[in-house]
């Protein structure tokens, strides 16, 4: 039973990490028109307990995309410089959609694993019922 219980905990950590990633994608999408916004990149790290990996995943530090911000020409913008350009955001909608889809697939995989470990333990207990 201990292994199946552990599988539940591991799958849950994956679900949590992927939902954190989706939150970052959503932040990027919401800020796609914010001047000077650098897109955030999710990172993952192994959960450590007493300097030993326990197998769970956790969200690592959030990194900022360092690609140069595109110059947008709009002389009427309040943040525009003397030539009429201001810094846009380096959010690429296509990349964000791909990232969101990847988070969804990973989430589904973890959900499936959760379901399967529940099914396995239920059928194990079914043996005792006969």
């Amino acid at each position: 039973m201990n292994d199946l219980n552990k599988t539940l905990a591991l799958a849950t950590s994956g679900l949590r990490a992927q939902s954190a990633r989706l939150r970052l994608v959503s932040e990027n999408l919401a800020n796609s028109d914010t001047p000077g916004y650098q897109r955030k990149i999710a990172s993952f790290a192994q959960e450590m307990m007493n300097t030993q990996a326990v197998g769970e995943v956790r969200q690592g530090p959030v990194r900022l995309d360092q690609t140069t911000l595109p110059k947008v020409y709009d002389p009427s913008h309040p943040m525009a410089d003397e030539k009429g350009y201001y810094d846009g955001s380096n959010v690429n909608l296509m990349v964000e959609i791909a990232d969101a889809r990847e988070a969804q697939r990973s989430y589904e995989a973890n959900l499936k694993l959760f379901e399967q470990s529940r099914k396995m333990s239920a059928s194990l207990l079914d043996i005792l019922r006969r």
Partner: protein
Amino acid sequence: MDIASNLAARAYASAKPATKAEDTSNPVAKAAGEFARLVENGEKTATSALVGGADPHALVQALAQTELAVETAVTVRNKVVEAYQEILRMPV
């Protein structure tokens, strides 16, 4: 004075096993302790999720683990009761 403190130390040592939390050598007691811990964890997580403390993932995980533990306990109990009734039906 010395004798009194000696006696007190001996009485304390003899009273120690009675205050022990749980017998770890007995596997049944161990399983029961584990079961109680899982159910308590499930209740705690459900309470904190309702007041906004824990995230839904933790709630789902704790409830699934509690369900698993309760099912195991109930199945084992049913098996034990069944065996007991089987013995009762035995013609003497």
